[in-house]
Amino acid sequence: MAKRTTVLKVSGLKRAFGSHTIFDKFSLEVRAGEAIALTGRNGAGKSTLLRCLVGADRPDDGTIEVLGTAMSEASPEIRRNVATVIDDLDFFPDLSVVEHLDLLARAHGHDDPDAMVDEVLDEVQLVPQSGQLPGTLSSGQRRRLALATAFVRPRKLLIMDEPEQRLDTEGVAWLSQRLQAERQSGLAIVFASHEPSLVESVATRVVRLGEPS
């Protein structure tokens, strides 16, 4: 069997706030078709690690490479390959739900944006809200829209921070199936979660943060 490509390589990562070290000498290698679940108690550093991985926060030491390219949030190549669902996603106040997804699909040069957007919108069950402006969505609907932004565009690595947040039971089940399918199609996934069923069904490896290794 051919060796799968290394999509994400993290070496000796360190992040500290003042004298408080969140994590140190953290290393991780994620290959295509692998899903890594980050677990641990609140404050263990899961979100901080994910923020470093997507370039929203800068580690104090260590390196992060995506497909052999050093991580830089400003790099269009990184942006093309890495889809993220973390809490800092912003929306245009005057663009509707479907228009946000259409814009992303088109910006990434998708050859059939309409079909892709319709499919994802249906999957995340936001068809009735397609014309709504983001400010009027409930927190659960906003979460679904954030997830949809990751699925409507091409991606080689998917990074998500507690994707199950604010989803109902059906939503978590759908997400679990979707992520399994994504992983099987060769996508590399790194996600933090407190939902045991999601971790169990999606992750190929579990990394527990905040515990001595």
Binding site: R58, E73, V82, D94, E99, G131
Partner: protein, 561 residues
């Protein structure tokens, strides 16, 4: 038991009647007595007063620099008005004088439009979330509770209206009587507009207020066009100073009648305003005031924009066009067509350079026009604001920050270019006493003015809020986060620096050179945060290399031994 803990000599009785209302045993429950609104407010005031750590005099003493600065700026403004009056008094032709007479009318009409728009946005009657929860949920007499709120809104309208009316009448060289009359007229007109909006609020209606806002906005623009038309001798409007004052008295009479009628209606309807309507205005004020305390004007605008979008709720989705950056540009255009009010604002500012020229203030024209364009362009740059305020959306799009910025400003820049072309005749000089320029020079002046206004708006829109986590700067007024004070001048500074060469009579090419440098800085991929991060990264690299060299040297030494 009450949690109220007053001092022993305090005669205040917070719960006069229902304090002993218990339901124990077979006793007939005491009838609950609703405390008067004034008493509840006294109670809240008393609590607040008890928590104050400084009195008013101490607060003023601590903020003495701010007080002195306010006095100096006030003095400078008065000086500007006096000097402007001297300049304007040099314009003596009939057309110029008539045109100046119409300016206070325009100011009055635009003040009414502004009063209506602000009233509709905030209420005008509002209550804080705490009042909504703790007071409005009780059977308290709401009209009594809300009456002072309505009065406060009216007082603000009176003060602002009077100041605007007096300033414009003074700036246009009016006599003492004319200044007083138009000051009162503008104050009363703005106040009656707020009162009418309050009457509409009480009836749970807003369409009339909305229609009146647009009507007065259009009338204001028409009045400005009339000013230009008269000054340019396109038509005449023979009005003497006496007739001008008479018109002012007429406006005062009509406004007073309107104010009395609408105020009666508004007061009668105070009790029927829904709690959610009252508290949403309060929440907006709280959000905006929080942003203003941090001098984060971008955030204040974001709150207003978000609220408007929520009020709209949903839209008819439109299909996008193009791929890559084209899709972004196309969406900007669609967003603008969906909410076209900013286009109207942009169109209004077209009259500014013409009005300056017509009124004999052509020297000031580039500065005033750039500032007006700056204000009108900010709403056009909503896309740039969203893309640059956080990194979330940027990460979703496969472009550099510079490419994103350029895509977001393509449509506004094209509109500003059209604005520049349409204002060229203003710089050619057509009013009395206006400075005349060649076509080439006028074209360059129009472009430089437009560039300064656009770049000022881009700078304003990209502003980040002050970073309270960074080391503070020590000042006589206490510790300030870096960038807090500079945020006040953000955008305005570029308008002034960009147009300064033209103001001092230098070639507009100097202005264009300044604007080109500013554009290079504003539209690149690096913001201040990224530059700092890159410096830290480079420092870290240097330290790493140094450690490696030291380790290699020590290994070599050990080998030798």
């Amino acid at each position: 038991m009450s949690t109220y803990e007053g001092s022993e000599d305090d005669a205040f009785e917070p719960y006069p009647a229902h304090h002993d209302a218990g339901f124990e045993g077979d006793e007939e429950p005491t009838r609950l007595v609703v405390p008067p609104a004034a008493e509840l407010k006294d109670l809240i005031r008393h609590w607040r007063k008890g928590r104050a750590t400084r009195n008013l005099w101490e607060a003023f003493s601590d903020a003495y620099i701010a007080v002195i600065a306010a006095l100096m700026i006030g003095g400078a403004l008065v000086n500007v008005v006096i000097r402007a009056q001297r300049v304007v008094s040099e314009c003596t032709s009939v057309s110029c004088l008539s045109a100046r007479t119409v300016l206070p009318w325009a100011a009055l009409v635009l003040s009414v439009a502004l009063a209506l728009a602000v009233s509709r946005l905030f209420g005008p009657v509002l209550a804080s979330a705490a009042e909504g929860f703790w007071l409005l949920d009780t059977p308290v007499n709401r009209p009594r509770l809300l009456g002072p709120r309505l009065m406060a809104a009216l007082v603000i309208a009176v003060v602002v209206g009077a100041l605007v009316g007096a300033a414009i009448a003074a700036l246009t060289g009016g006599s003492g009587l004319v200044i007083v009359v138009w000051s009162i007229a503008t104050a009363l007109a703005a106040t009656s507009a707020v009162s009418c909006a309050a009457a509409q609020q009480g009836a749970e209606r807003h369409r009339l207020t909305q229609a009146a806002t647009y009507l007065f906005g259009v009338l204001g623009v028409v009045a400005l066009v009339v000013v230009i038309g008269i000054a340019s001798d396109w038509f005449s409007l023979p009005i003497t100073a006496g007739a001008d004052a008479e018109i002012g008295f007429g406006v005062i009479a009509v406004s007073t009648v309107l104010l009395v009628v609408s105020l009666v209606l508004a007061v009668r309807r105070l009790g029927s305003i829904r709690r959610t309507r009252l508290t949403s205005g309060g929440a907006l004020v709280r959000g905006i005031s929080g942003a203003f305390f941090a001098l984060d004007f971008g955030l204040a605008r974001d709150i207003v924009v978000e609220r408007r979008a929520v009020a709209v709720g949903s839209v008819k989705p439109r299909r996008g066009k193009g791929l890559g950056r084209q899709a972004l540009v196309w969406r900007e255009w669609q967003r603008l067509l969906r909410f076209p009010q900013p286009l109207f604002m942009l169109a209004v500012t077209l009259v500014v350079p013409y009005a300056c020229d017509a009124l004999g203030m052509s020297t000031l024209s580039p500065v005033v026009a750039a500032l007006a364009l700056f204000g009108a362009t900010i709403p056009l740059l909503g896309g740039l604001r969203v893309l640059t305020r956080t990194g979330g959306l940027q990460r979703c799009l496969p472009f550099t920050l510079s490419q994103l910025k350029i895509s977001a400003i393509t449509v506004p820049a094209a509109l500003v270019a059209v604005w520049a072309v349409l204002t060229v005749p203003a710089y050619l000089g057509f009013g009395d006493g206006a400075a005349e320029h060649t076509v080439d020079e006028a074209l360059l002046m129009a472009i430089a003015t437009a560039a300064a206004g656009l770049l000022g708006a881009i700078r304003w829109v990209q502003a980040k809020g002050p970073d309270f986590s960074a080391p503070m700067i020590s000042t006589p007024s206490g510790a300030f986060p870096p960038g807090l004070m500079t945020n006040v001048f953000r955008g305005f500074d570029l308008c002034l620096i960009g147009t300064a060469p033209m103001l001092f009579g230098f070639s507009p090419l100097w202005s264009l050179a300044i604007c080109a440098i500013a554009a290079l800085i504003l539209l690149n991929s690096m913001d201040a945060e990224a530059i700092r991060a890159r410096q830290v990264e480079q420092q870290r690299e240097l330290e790493r290399a140094k450690r490696q060299r030291e380790a290699a040297a020590s290994a070599a030494k050990q080998k030798k031994r």
